[in-house]
Subunit: 150 residues, 2 copies
DNA sequence: TCTTATTGACATTACAAATGTCATAATGAC
DNA sequence: GTCATTATGACATTTGTAATGTCAATAAGA
């Protein structure tokens, strides 16, 4: 297998990897009352604490309008609530409710256990190389794409 | 960075990698008259020769009904044509036209050059490890997801 | 031959996400 | 402090990818 073909392979394995990962997450959500997109919001909030809709959009790298829809869902389900934002009157902070906190903690715990089962035996060094390589490819692809079209 | 977090990172870098790769492909298609999904079909045909719609679907791992739509596009654009299939009366083989052949060859050549610019300096060994790791993760995620739900 | 599977063709639905728009409200420059 | 600019929420529309559903015609296999 030559060099170019190897790079090609690595790049295009990203799609099946992503699909497999998302399917696994979806599977783990069964019966929790969460959808994948609700989970994405809860994870952000669990990791970084309460945030505004535009903040969440930025972290998820999607448009704020779409995040609004997600938040509508999580609010309706009682997993999040709007709390006053000291730094902004209109733009409330979105915070986990107690129920939401408990749920996302449990979901993330289960995912952690899955990760352990799945990759517990992969050598640290190889994971590090993999991560580094993927990140380099991402950075270079991005800059090549943006080249001369800012 | 602990082990689990490393695996987590690798898995979730697959989405940005895929997005960056697709954006790069899209960029390279500008002005060619090809869309991303037309390109996918032409690539399959260029690699494996003429094939039926269900064959193509299987290789792309998507439903045949969706491939039909792609083929409609490529036929309409004159990049592919239906030729008689010795092994099946109704299910014609989809083949590249001369124009299609020339176009996909050129597109793939340009992509190859981009790959060279992007990853030419990545060590073979690291690429190999990356590919292996990604494939292991895919396989394990898949089997974990299918577990007890065949 | 007869039953079953495959195929093409077309319609419907689902989902993620982008984009468009508007009124309101917050911020920053002056 | 006023005024222009920007940010936000709320809602509507559109796009792209793909899955699903359905049906008639046809091909393959028992």
């Amino acid at each position: 297998m030559n060099h170019l073909h190897q790079i090609y392979q690595v790049i295009w394995q990203s799609r099946p990897l992503m699909q497999a990962a998302e399917a696994a997450v979806e599977r783990g959500l069964e019966g929790s009352g969460l959808t994948v997109r609700m989970r994405a919001v809860l994870e952000i909030l669990a990791d970084g604490g309460a945030a505004t809709v535009p903040d969440i959009a930025q972290r998820l790298e999607i448009k704020r309008q779409y995040v609004q829809l997600m938040i509508n869902d999580t609010h309706a389900a009682g997993f999040t609530e709007a709390v006053p934002n000291p730094r902004h009157q209109r733009s409330k902070l979105i915070a986990l409710t107690e129920v939401g906190q408990r749920l996302i903690t449990q979901v993330m715990q289960r995912e952690k256990e899955l990760l352990k089962r799945i990759g517990g035996d992969l050598p640290d060094g190889e994971l590090g190389i993999t991560l580094k390589t993927m990140q380099q490819l991402i950075a270079r692809l991005k800059s090549a794409t943006e080249e001369k079209t800012p």
